[in-house]
Subunit: 145 residues, 2 copies
């Protein structure tokens, strides 16, 4: 099957905590097709009314869950559970087994970043983003290093 | 005493977790005078060798700790413990009692942001920053709302 959907059209988000739910709502508002997976049904209560995608209550480290979410059709997979190891494991599966074009993982521990990058997995680290934002707020009007 | 130090020169960071330690190192590299307060001596091990500031092992909700850190001379106070309520409490003390010119608090729960803003306390929310970063990475080449 060589059919490819329009770029970035179908997005799977794994983990519906604060970050996952907020991102799902933002992307849904942008007209993207979004599926959110979480083990805990209650976590979906975080999704705003403006979220128009689908939810799957299941463990994303199970192969059946990813197949149910049609991971082989996904343009983007974002892993944002609260556990770095879970995020990297699912990101690897998405990238290596299902050849998902764009895989992004949240990581809490910045030192693990190089492991992800070697695998072609993009990362977002809330700690690093926040530290830079704070530094720029405090060190105003100075040129960056 | 009307003496004012050069703007943003003396910075107190409360909480030496991943964010606090990373920020302390960044600001120290920029030549700022930085004091980091944490209850746990071990947390200071996170500070890089390039950190040239001071550390205080104590509970920052104790008045004596803040006085030891010379909060009355601080230009900036940043509260980045892992607890939103602790962050807002210390931020209030810094802003209202010690009239610190710039007070910034990390908050995990975005819904509390308005409480801080009413008090003149700036906030940084790792969840919001990360969600926007991810959204912008995914929704490339599109104009922002």
């Amino acid at each position: 099957m060589t059919y490819r959907k329009k770029k970035n059209e179908y997005i799977i988000i794994i983990g519906c905590g604060r970050l996952g739910s907020h991102l799902a709502t933002l992307l849904s508002k942008k007209g993207k097709s979004v599926v959110v997976i979480d083990r805990d049904q209650k976590s979906f209560e975080r999704l705003k009314d403006s979220f128009s995608g689908f939810t799957i209550e299941a463990d994303a480290i199970e192969k059946d869950t990813l197949l149910e979410a049609k991971i082989d059709k996904a343009d983007v997979v974002v892993t944002v559970t609260n556990d770095d190891n879970t995020n990297i494991m699912i990101a690897q599966i998405a990238k290596i087994i299902y050849k998902v074009p764009k895989v992004i993982a949240r990581l809490f521990e910045p030192s693990k970043q190089s492991i992800y990058e070697e695998l072609g997995i993009e990362t977002v680290c809330p700690t690093m983003l926040s530290a830079l934002e704070l530094k720029n707020t405090i060190v105003e009007n100075e040129l960056e290093d």
